[in-house]
């Protein structure tokens, strides 16, 4: 750990701190005003009517229905594009149809904003598939995440003035505005910045060059910058190349690395401010933001510390290990640039990687795994991160309410049996899928055959795959060949359920909460802001995460760590 490293962490969070208010206000204007940009207002209406969508407000069921229809259609279309890419244009390398299990996995993966990639893009997907299929989904899956959050937050913040159903907004309008006013302009600016730093953007076929030694080398080309921008901004994480953000054409300089890290957490962070405006309590918005920052910093410091340590197995080989565990990391980013990126990509459900998580020290890898396991709510994915956080807030407030002797309430609305049921279900579904998925995999010889490593490390690799899928992160620990029928299909199921089941539960809660009577707070009401609330929320998140995953983290990364110091590796 160096002073320079700490300074870089401070710089990143300072930049974030200055940006979230303006971006938060912009987002509020986009979503919560009837016509954010009068110029485009008519265009918005026309577009909706062309697509035969009504722009009226919807109740939670109608909202959920639109969301599900749109996303399932997305899966079908993306699946077809991959299966028929050899008949479609922009295929200079003449790639064949993607095998069906992989195509299904990839379709679900990009629709659910996971961007788990069981393939290498440059060897499997045509430019058409990448641009029309995948990049399109990068935009709309991010938009879906925003929409889910908006509906949930409206359910909590809107007040029932009469007995009629209060509505949660319109999915199509929210989606349209996300794409046109948030992600397109944002990605456009980002893409230009990336190109200025050397990220490529072309339709050339693969370049064949002769190196100085006379060897032949193939260099993949393509429209990278445009996909790179939305990959990061929409916390998608699916790279153009298999090497993802470690590839010099995706992430060439320390500046692009900084830019990518900042834009990963920018929208999820700024949404806390937007949320504060929606519930008319900026203090509560800030409290959530501070909770995220503290949890994130805790992880960053631990990982940074462990990655700065030398590897005991390489002791006595005469290697200079003063700069730490550089195995699997790009030298242009260094320990800090890799540790920080790895933390933020697991905090947010982005999943882009600029280094191999597989090569992290055992306890560094444990933190990355834990970052995802605690629920992708430290910043989290665009929209869904705060969405998950709100579910945890409901549980925390429920416990706090009981402990102060008042029927638990959040934003003046009582939390009763049904809300608790949906909230706890949305927390229980993750361990169910992760643990059951991993349990079946370790019992099946064919699933175990995908592993490069055995023992605790192999276990971590399988655990990471299901964790990454169900929480829609999409980063891979590596070391696991996930392009088999079992992993393609089981992970596709994990991604689908992990994405849409919590959205269903959250919107049900929104539907219940929106019609509730508002109760005035008094001095006996526990305030959902301030240091005590932040402490409580952090405590609940860590305790729930720790209690659920203590055994698997112990038999995976922890035992590997003990072994490492006893001179064994796997």
């Amino acid at each position: 750990m160096t002073f320079n490293g700490i300074l870089q962490i401070a710089l990143l969070f300072t930049a974030l701190l200055f940006l979230i208010k303006p971006v938060g206000i912009y987002l509020y204007r986009v979503y919560e005003t009837p016509s954010p940009f009068p110029l485009f207002n008519r265009l918005e209406g026309k577009l909706l009517s062309w697509c035969c969508f009504k722009s009226e407000d919807q109740n939670w069921k109608a909202y959920l229905k639109s969301l599900l229809i749109f996303n399932i259609m997305g899966i079908v279309i993306l699946f077809c594009i991959q299966r028929f890419q050899h008949f479609l244009p922009l295929n200079p390398e003449s790639f064949q149809a993607v095998p069906w299990a992989l195509a299904l996995n990839t379709a679900v993966s990009f629709v659910t904003n996971t961007n788990w990639q069981a393939y290498s893009g440059e060897l499997t997907m045509s430019y058409f598939t990448q641009m029309v299929g995948l990049t399109w989904q990068n935009f709309v899956s991010a938009g879906t995440g925003m929409a889910a959050f908006l509906a949930f937050a409206r359910g909590l913040s809107r007040h029932a003035s009469s007995s009629q159903d209060i509505l949660l907004g319109n999915f199509w309008v929210d989606l349209l505005r996300s794409v046109f006013y948030v992600f397109l302009p944002g990605a456009f600016i980002m893409a230009l910045l990336f190109i200025s730093q050397g990220v490529i953007q072309n339709f050339s076929p693969t370049l064949e060059i002769t190196t100085l030694e006379g060897g032949r080398e193939l260099i993949s080309m393509g429209p990278v910058a445009s996909q790179e921008a939305i990959k990061i901004l929409g916390t998608n994480g699916g790279g153009f190349f298999g090497a993802n953000s470690a590839h010099p054409f995706e992430n060439p300089t320390p500046f692009t690395n900084f830019l990518q890290m900042l834009s990963m957490i920018l929208i999820p962070g700024a949404l806390t401010y937007t949320y504060g405006k929606m519930i008319q309590s900026q203090k509560q918005g800030w409290s959530i933001f501070i909770t995220m920052v503290i949890l994130s910093l805790m992880g960053i410091l631990v990982v940074y510390y462990f990655e700065s340590q030398p590897n005991p197995l390489l002791h006595g080989l005469g290697l200079d290990q003063t700069s730490g565990n550089l195995e699997g990391k790009e030298v242009r980013f260094g320990i800090l640039g890799s540790a920080l990126f790895a933390n933020l990509t697991t905090d947010t459900s982005c999943g882009a990687t600029n280094c191999l998580h597989d090569s992290f020290t055992p306890l560094g890898g444990l933190v990355l795994l834990l970052n995802i396991l605690i629920g992708e709510l430290v910043f989290g994915g665009v929209g869904v991160g705060l969405f998950n956080m709100l579910l945890f807030i409901l549980i925390s407030v429920f416990m706090a309410g009981l402990m102060v002797g008042r029927t638990p309430e959040y934003l003046g609305k009582k939390i009763e049996g049904k809300e608790v049921r949906f909230a706890i279900l949305s927390i229980a579904i993750y361990p169910l899928i992760i643990l059951v998925g991993a349990a079946i995999s370790v019992l099946s010889p064919s699933a175990l055959a995908s592993l490069q490593n055995g023992g605790p490390h192999g276990f971590s690799e399988i655990l990471y795959a299901y964790t990454s899928a169900v929480h829609n992160n999409g980063s891979a620990f590596g070391g696991l060949n996930a392009n088999t029928s079992w992993y393609n299909l089981s992970l596709a199921l994990a991604m689908f359920v992990g994405r849409f089941f919590p959205i269903y539960l959250g919107l049900s809660i929104a539907g219940l909460m929106v019609n509730k009577k508002i109760i005035q707070p008094n001095t006996g009401t526990f305030p959902t802001q301030g240091a005590l609330f932040i402490g409580l929320l952090i405590g609940v998140i860590l305790i729930v995460g720790a209690l659920t995953f203590f055994p698997v983290l112990a038999i995976g990364p922890f035992i590997e760590y003990i072994n490492l110091w006893q001179g064994r590796s796997f």
Binding site: M403, V404, T407, A428, A439, T525, T548
Partner: protein, 676 residues
């Protein structure tokens, strides 16, 4: 007062065992899982007794683990059964009084028949004469009588009950000590308030409150999570070439699921109702008690609640030229035969300050004029004496009618008294205004502190009074209430409550009169005084047997305690799991993977002893918390933040660390017993 009789003790003990029945435990999902675990390990132990154990697990280990599982279940059942027994014993001691009594039922045309009290039905009319017990709850339709309610309230002074008033109901088990009453029975056998109360403390019959249901859902959710965690450990163990026995996995499961709160939650609910009962509060539902903890606004009647029932003189103010002696003698004449509370307190005041000067001989020739609502005057009339005392304007018009003179300071004194919240009474003798008596509402001693406590709890107090706003505001200020509703009518009260509710406040109200009934029904929590009318009691969701309106404070505390006890024990239960993991996870893997020794931070002696120690700790902690479940977590009126910080420190942080100590101690004990 409640003696924990042997009968209920035996019943509770029997219930403790009887409720191991899976059909009963189904209602407690967490304990149901323990039951399954206990049955399973018992079967394994029986099998191991006859055949060599699988995985070389010692029989003593399997057997002791299953014994402790059964004990865990019994401890949980006992907490519920004994809480129930306590409540039943208390309610029955109140009820027993009314049993086996003979009532005189009026059949028709005044014919009486003797029937046992248990045969009385709603709308029967009975006669009760002095010295008899009231056989059933009823409403007086004829007569007035003094009633000894000490059997119920513990208060020895008799109270007056009277037909056609706001104090017309009588409770079963109380004793009439004067006169004779005709009473209409208001409840069928088994439907009285006490019967309802008894059903609330019966575990099998009682309805779960909304908060309890929500907590149950949370506990079931956690249980499901831990089920998944434990079940998947078996395949993970196989991957690492480590065969895990069923006994060990079940032990981990039982220790992780929230048994502490899951086993005590029923006892906590019953104890809350029982505590209310001990304070002589009859709640119509468990929900009513919980609602009390959420109250924001409290409406209290001025008379009898904030002030003593009657006004007292504080000063005699004679006009210029009137001698104090003469004035006090005139007042005495006017009050000798005055039966109103004010009249009596005026006489007391004279005796204390000036000495009585009117003898019986003086009053022989006088005729007395009683106070009436029309004239608003009282006094006496004799051959040479005519004294009147009454409302200032009534006296004034009397004087003016007789062409008398009104002294110049009259209106000034009157105004001054009104401004301070007092009531002026003018006194005239033989057509001459002598002076004014300053009557004042006396604030009940200690009431300010109660309002102070309510304010600290965050409860806004509102005084309801028929007085004018000026008087009301003075008394409100003096008593320390936050707000007042002056010149209150039944409609005004009702509208006030509705307006508060529309703003999102939960409103509680105490009342006793029939005209309070609509407001009591509208309020989120209506507490009727036992002395009040039947209509008021039916509209309310609680009845206070002591008829002490400030008892709402205790009711609110009981409601809050109920929630806090559940919340704190849940937090404690979950926090305990951290240490349990550190005890059990290394133990179950240690035999195949020696590296797990690094996680054995408590340095426990052997895998079997550490698992057994954890199982024993899990059972014993429940026993240790039973008194807390019965008593409730102490509530202090202070802000939510401070309450939460305190609870998190004790039950959260304490819950994380205490099992480390407990398990280590138990492990050392097992080591000394040679069980490792």
């Amino acid at each position: 007062m409640a003696k924990f009789s042997d009968h209920f003790m035996r019943e509770a003990l029997w219930n403790t065992f009887r409720r191991l029945d899976p059909r009963y435990l189904k209602k407690h999902p967490v304990m149901f899982v323990v039951l399954l675990g206990a049955s399973l390990t018992t079967l394994i132990a029986i099998r191991d007794f006859f055949y060599p154990p699988l995985l070389h697990e010692p029989l003593w280990f399997t057997a002791s683990v299953s014994v402790w599982f059964w004990l865990t279940l019994l401890f949980s059942n006992a907490s519920e059964a004994f809480a129930e027994g306590k409540g039943k014993a208390h309610a029955s001691s109140l009820k027993a009084l009314a049993q086996e009594m003979i009532a005189h039922r009026i059949v028709n045309h005044g014919i009486e028949e003797m029937v046992p009290a248990s045969d009385l039905r709603r709308d029967d009319v009975i006669k009760v004469i002095a010295g008899e017990f009231i056989p059933s709850d009823g409403e007086i339709i004829e007569g007035i009588g003094a009633i000894d309610e000490s059997a119920i309230t513990g208060e020895s002074a008799p109270v007056i009950r009277e037909s056609d008033s706001d104090r017309s109901t009588v409770t079963a088990g109380t004793k009439l000590i004067s006169n004779q009453l005709l009473i209409r029975i208001i409840s069928n056998p088994g439907e009285s308030f006490l019967d309802k109360m008894i059903s609330l403390v019966q575990a099998a019959k009682r309805q779960k409150t909304p908060n309890e249901i929500a907590l149950q859902v949370l506990l079931v959710g956690l249980t499901i999570i831990f089920l998944i965690v434990c079940a998947t450990l078996v395949p993970f163990g196989l991957y690492l070439n480590c065969k895990l026995s069923l006994t060990v996995i079940v032990s981990l499961l039982v220790c992780l699921i929230p048994t502490t709160i899951g086993g005590l939650v029923s006892a906590i609910g019953i104890s809350g109702i029982e505590r209310a009962l001990r304070k002589n509060i009859l709640a119509m539902s468990g929900k009513a008690v919980e609602t009390a903890g959420d109250i924001d606004v409290l409406l209290l009647d001025k008379t009898g609640t904030i002030t003593l029932g009657n006004r007292m003189p504080v000063e005699f103010i004679p006009f210029k030229g009137v001698d104090m002696k003469e004035f006090s003698r005139a007042i005495e004449f006017s009050s000798v035969a005055d039966r109103t509370p004010e009249g009596r307190s005026i006489l007391e005041f004279i005796e204390k300050n000036y000495g009585r000067s009117v003898s019986e001989k003086d009053t022989e020739a006088l005729t007395f004029i009683p106070f009436s609502a029309e004239t608003r005057l009282s006094g006496c009339e004799g051959p040479s004496l005519s004294v009147r005392k009454g409302a200032c304007d009534a006296i004034q018009s009397l004087i003016l009618a007789k062409k008398g003179k009104i002294p110049p300071e009259f209106s000034k004194v009157m105004e001054k008294i009104s401004l301070t919240g007092g009531t002026p009474l003018a006194v005239s003798m033989n057509g001459k205004l002598l002076g004014i008596i300053h009557l004042k509402d006396i604030i009940k001693p200690g009431i300010q502190e109660r309002f102070h406590r309510l304010r600290k709890m965050g409860i806004h107090t509102v005084m309801i009074t028929g007085d004018n706003p000026l008087t009301a505001s003075t008394i409100a200020k003096e008593a320390g209430v936050d707000n007042f509703l002056a010149e209150a009518t039944p409609e005004k009260k009702l509208n006030f409550i509705k307006a508060q509710q529309a703003k999102g406040y939960l409103v509680a109200m105490t009342g006793d009169g029939t005209n309070d009934a609509p407001a009591l029904a509208q309020a989120d929590l209506g507490i009727a005084m036992n002395s009040g009318t039947q209509a008021a009691k039916e509209a309310a969701n609680m009845v206070d047997l002591d008829s002490n309106p400030t008892k709402i404070l205790e009711v609110i505390e009981i409601g809050k305690q109920l929630l806090m006890t559940r919340g704190c024990l849940t937090t404690f239960s979950i926090a305990n799991d951290v240490a349990k993991y550190f005890a059990i996870i290394p133990a179950i893997f240690l035999l195949s993977i020696p590296e797990f020794e690094a996680l054995n931070i408590m340095n426990l002696s052997s895998p079997y002893s550490s698992i057994l120690a954890t199982v024993i700790f899990n059972a014993l902690i429940m026993v240790m918390l039973i008194p807390l479940a019965f008593r409730g977590v102490k509530y202090r009126p202070r802000g939510a933040k401070s309450l939460l910080a305190h609870a998190l420190l004790i039950y959260g942080v304490g819950g994380i660390f205490s099992p480390f100590i407990g398990i280590k101690l138990l492990d050392m004990l097992l080591l000394n017993l040679g069980l490792t």
